[in-house]
């Protein structure tokens, strides 16, 4: 009387192959349409006059100065962000204090502020029309329309990246290991270097890569405070816009392609590290 008939096994923890293929197809199509198409456009425009055009464009003094400027900014802003991220994660994850929830929201705040507004706030604070700005100008200290202003704008937009990556991981790790090290008599800095850092290095690395990518690509906030002085305060993204406006589309897109390549390089580096250390990673996977 049994109704049980031999049937093909129904997959219980994955989807049927057809559904799977469909989902993969959809995902690939979405990425192709929304991410790869613009990227291909950038490279196609850069190579419109062949490789020589790209080389000529990138050896323009303005382009070289912009690349140097962007690298300088990233070299200042990213380590600062990393220090902040580590400090914030340590304080938030390892200690229990009042107002923690508000603090986390405040750290996230720069994500929800329009880059234009971010630039505006810096101009309001340090511009010649404010009391502080007037004093700075009188003492010949330049913040806006100089390197410090651009670094501040970059710090603002990339502020949450490292902290956001680190905080959940550190919370997950708990503090048992650190406390154990403490009872063994290790000093604070050693606990951090030998216990905490190895446990969280992937999250740290990922946060640093993301904040680096975003630091180099930021346009809106930097455009407001850079003054766009060619060869001096023009960053790669602002220089892209300037070249584009000069009908130098090959130069503009070559510079943009360099930015995209730098980003892809850091991302590939990340993938490579993840792939080579897959086991380690699985053990310390961030949440």
């Amino acid at each position: 009387m049994s109704d049980i008939a031999p049937t093909r096994p129904v997959p219980v923890t994955t989807e049927p192959p057809l559904v799977r293929a469909l989902l993969i197809g959809l995902a690939v199509a979405f990425v192709a349409l929304f991410l790869f198409a613009p990227l291909v456009t950038v490279f196609a425009e850069a190579l419109a006059e062949g490789g020589r055009g790209v080389i000529a464009a990138l050896s323009l003094p303005d382009a070289r100065a912009a690349i140097a400027m962007t690298l300088t900014i990233a070299a200042i802003a990213v380590p600062l962000n990393a220090v902040f991220g580590i400090a914030a994660a340590w304080a938030i994850a390892k200690f229990d204090f009042r107002g923690k929830a508000v603090l986390i929201t405040l750290i996230d705040l720069p994500f929800s502020v329009s880059p234009v507004v971010a630039g505006l706030t810096l101009v309001l604070l340090f511009g010649a029309n404010s009391a502080l700005g007037a004093w700075l100008m009188a003492n010949d200290i330049r913040i806006v329309f100089a390197l410090p202003g651009i670094v501040l704008a970059t710090l603002f937009v990339t502020f949450p990246f490292v902290a956001r990556e680190l905080i959940p991981v550190m919370i997950e790790q708990g503090r048992a290991e650190e406390e154990a090290a403490l009872t063994l008599g290790a000093p604070g800095w050693r606990i951090f270097l030998t216990v905490t850092l190895p446990n969280t290095r992937w999250a740290l690395l990922y946060g640093v890569l993301l904040s680096n990518a975003r630091a180099m690509g930021e346009f809106g906030a930097v455009a407001v405070v850079s003054g766009k002085i060619r060869g001096e305060t023009a960053t790669m993204p602002t220089m892209v816009e300037m070249f584009y406006n000069e009908y130098l589309s090959v130069a503009a897109f070559s510079l943009a392609a360099v930015l995209a390549l730098l980003a892809l390089l850091t991302l590939l580096l990340k993938s490579l590290l993840e792939w080579r250390h897959a086991d380690l990673l699985a053990a310390t996977r961030r949440h």
């Binding site: 101009v123 340090f126 511009g127 010649a128 029309n129 700005g133 100008m137 330049r142 806006v144 329309f145 003054g227 766009k228 002085i229 060619r230 060869g231 001096e232 300037m242 584009y244 406006n245 000069e246 009908y247």
Partner: protein, 395 residues
């Protein structure tokens, strides 16, 4: 700041700068007379004979105050003389300009530095900043250390003068032609063969015609476009407000800058006609191919005079002031005027220009901003918050 020029083999004279004569000589006001001659580099100590000459010139010109001042200045030069290191310090000029002048200033900066060093001056480094005229003016107000500003509208420089006090209120009288070394106007750029048959402003308000023009709020050039259309309606007995309103109803894309609008029209293929600076239109033809677009000249347009000024409050040294003043004055020299003409600006001095560069400008009736009452009236009434432009979009 006084300029020192050589007026004889051993004679120097000093006075305030009037103009550059273009052949390397400048004209100065020495207090008693206008003199011309080759400038002597300011920080460079003059030769002994030169100093005596300067003193002689100054003393013979006494009792005029300018002459005495010149003598004192000449002595000052001798005192400051033994600092050759300072004389070699490179002077920097930051020219804050608007979008469509990039190509012109790129060439002019090369022309000026060559001329300036040929006069025996210490070399100058010229830095350029370009962007929307309004954004650029605002950056200077907020503390961008511009040495000179070369913007699209006198209203923008007025704002800097008014809000920072770094430019005197009478800046427009410091250089000839209201401090506008070159002028331009607004023309139409249409697609090859002019398929819509656009000939004048009234064709732009026809049903189905798409007009590309930037946003007058963010683009200085767009304000000239707006006023040119207004002037046409005014001249032809139409209600200007209604006419301009109808025109903007035909605008599908309001870019934030003149270059953005040009790109939208030329590269993206949007619209039937682009309202453009005359020099932008010529440049688009040159850059993107003569056979893709045509220029249509309307019956009436506006005389757009992009002005220049020294930002006095940002000057840090006498050497910088001398270089910056010469930088602006040299814009009026025949060579620079010829260069402006080559870059499709309507410059005044055609003496050294190639005939072709002059001949390509069509004749048309040009209305001046003075007929509207000047920018101080136009800016708030037309383009201020709640002004006529805002009202068009409030309806």
């Amino acid at each position: 700041m006084y300029h020192t020029i050589q007026i004889g083999a051993h004679t120097l004279a000093q006075g305030t700068f009037i103009r550059s004569l273009g052949d390397g000589r400048i004209e100065i006001d020495a207090g008693h007379a206008r003199l011309s001659g080759r400038p002597v580099a300011d920080p460079k100590p003059p030769a002994a004979g030169g100093v005596l000459g300067a003193l002689r010139t100054a003393l013979t010109a006494a009792p005029l105050r300018g002459g005495i001042l010149a003598a004192v200045a000449a002595l000052g030069l001798v005192m400051a003389g033994p600092t050759p290191a300072a004389a070699q310090d490179s002077v920097e000029i930051l020219n804050v300009s608007y979008d469509p002048t990039r190509e012109f200033y790129r060439d002019y900066n090369a022309l000026f530095t060559a001329w300036w060093t040929a006069q025996g001056n210490a070399p100058v480094t010229i830095r350029q900043s370009h962007g929307g005229a309004g954004a650029q003016a605002r950056a200077v107000i907020d503390g961008l250390a511009a040495t000179v500003v070369t913007l699209a509208l006198s209203a923008d420089i007025d704002q800097i003068a008014e809000r920072t006090g770094r430019i005197p209120a009478d800046w427009q009288s410091r250089l000839p032609h209201n401090a506008a070394p070159y002028a331009s106007t607004i023309v139409f750029l249409v697609r090859e063969g002019n398929p819509r048959g656009i000939a004048d402003w009234d064709d732009l308000v026809a049903e189905g015609v798409q007009v590309i023009t930037p946003n007058p709020k963010t683009s200085g050039g767009a304000r000239w476009n707006f006023l040119a259309a207004w002037a046409y309606a005014d001249r032809n007995g139409l209600d200007p407000r209604e006419f301009v309103g109808a025109l903007y109803r035909n605008v599908p894309v309001l870019d934030t800058g003149a270059r953005g609008a040009t790109t939208t029209f030329t590269q993206r293929g949007i619209g039937h006609v682009l309202l453009a600076w005359e020099n932008e239109a010529f440049l688009a033809l040159a850059e993107l191919g003569e056979d893709a677009f045509d220029i249509v000249v309307p019956s009436v347009s506006i005389l757009a005079e992009p002005p220049v000024s020294l930002v006095d409050g940002n000057i840090t040294s006498d050497a910088q002031r001398a270089a910056a003043e010469a930088y602006l004055a040299h814009l009026y020299s025949p060579e620079a005027q010829a260069l402006a003409l080559r870059h499709h600006y309507r410059a005044r001095d055609t003496s050294l220009a190639a005939p072709d560069d002059v001949a390509r400008f069509p004749e048309l009736e040009l209305v001046t901003i003075a007929e509207f009452g000047g920018w101080s009236v136009v800016q708030p009434a037309f383009f201020g918050d709640g002004g006529i432009f805002d009202q068009i979009y409030e309806e």
